[in-house]
Symmetry: C2
Subunit: 254 residues, 2 copies
């Protein structure tokens, strides 16, 4: 069992040489080698690779990535959360860049000549400050950063059980409503859906109604989610989806 370099390469889109490189510098060494010296990557290795590629995509150097992943207190969820946050920042930056270009296109169309200063003011509003800030935030004083990171991670270790429990409790309550025959598009069911949304927003990310709808749809279309939710009570996934949709409609109608 396990994957060869070529298989990993095909699976992930990186080249074999890259995997060799990561092995060379100790960033990702396969858990095993065959008798002939072939690299064998385990599932755990691939999870690590996914995190590596995520951080790489975000512009971290391989050395930085190694340090980030060396933190024993940070688990998969912590990394996902951090990457999610950084991606949102990027999205914001990209949006501003697009606006800047649209501005310049408008100016060009009207025949307005922008001076050099104006050009780079428009175009640079996101670059120097945002980028510098980002760099400092992510990796400013290496010591201070790691200390705070450790704290956040230990928080989430504690919170972890609490999150799981809260989630389960909520599912339990929704299942009870369903069992009691409460319609999915009734007030109390919608309130439960709203609680569900709030819970996600509190622990993970700002969950808009749009995103919430997407999640609800996923709960019934992706069998892994469906099965998992239906473990609490059969049919719960569908019921929850309907409540989510009704709740989103209610909120967005205003």
């Amino acid at each position: 069992m396990g994957y060869s370099v070529g298989e990993v390469a095909r699976l992930t889109g990186v080249t074999v040489r890259t995997l060799h490189h990561y092995d060379e510098i100790g960033l990702l060494s396969p858990g095993e080698r065959t008798a002939a010296g072939y690299r064998r990557y385990s599932e755990a290795d691939l999870e690590r690779l996914q995190q590596i590629l995520g951080y790489r995509e975000l512009g971290f150097s391989l050395e930085e990535i190694a340090e980030i992943l060396a933190d024993p207190a940070a688990d998969h969820m912590v990394h996902l959360r951090r990457q999610h946050g950084l991606l949102l920042e990027r999205l914001e930056r990209l949006r501003k860049m697009i606006e800047a270009i649209e501005f310049m296109m408008e100016a060009e169309q009207m025949g307005i000549k922008l001076t050099a200063q104006e050009r780079f003011e428009v175009f640079g509003d996101f670059d120097p400050d945002q980028y510098a800030e980002e760099a400092e935030q992510r990796w400013g004083d290496s010591e201070a950063y790691r200390e705070s990171q450790r704290r956040v991670a230990s928080y989430s270790k504690q919170d972890w059980l609490q999150i799981k429990e809260e989630t389960n409790r909520l599912y339990q309550r929704i299942a009870e409503a369903m069992a009691a025959g409460v319609p999915a598009d009734s007030e109390p069911a919608m309130d439960l859906a709203e609680e569900h949304r709030a819970q996600i927003s509190r622990w993970f990310y700002e969950c808009t109604y749009e995103i919430h709808r997407g999640l609800g749809e996923m709960y019934v279309t992706d069998h892994r989610f469906t099965e998992n939710i239906d473990k609490t009570a059969p049919g719960l996934a569908r019921y929850l989806r309907d409540a989510i949709v009704a709740n989103a409609d209610r909120a967005q109608a205003r």
Copy 2:
């Protein structure tokens, strides 16, 4: 007149070394040198630098950038348009990545174990195809690409006058409506605003109502636009803004 390396560096956020490098490889050589051998950058040099940085941001290599900018048929507008398009693609890709991460966070929260394949399927939906496609589209067969580019560029050279004229005609008509006392939030004024939006969409980019609102706001807050528009008729900028807002309200109310 002209800017020294240090000034350009401060203005644009790149380092002096980078400017030296661009000079070395012939990507951006300052138009002039002082008697002492100091580099002097002109406004035209800075415009070129802006385009260079735009393409660099988008991931093009310096060599590719040199080739792109070498096309004599492509003017500033063509580059802006291309960069705008590529940025929109990037935005889409980023959005998908964020969705993928949200999916995995949800899965993690529910305790669903994703296999390696699933993980990279989710995470790789945008990477291999999209990126390869992008790379081919942008620089696939160098010859074919340049040929098509030239056509697009020559189109836009021809179209250019037409665009200008159409724009001016439309402004003229709006000015006439204003002079005739047609209220900015009346049907005919809104229709003119809608025409304005359609014109932008046709020549430049998909101009949503949201973006159109932003443009309208800019017309009255940025004095350069205000003055330019008011050249057709005093007060036109404000009138157009009001019509745009009314039109957007009408369209989005549905």
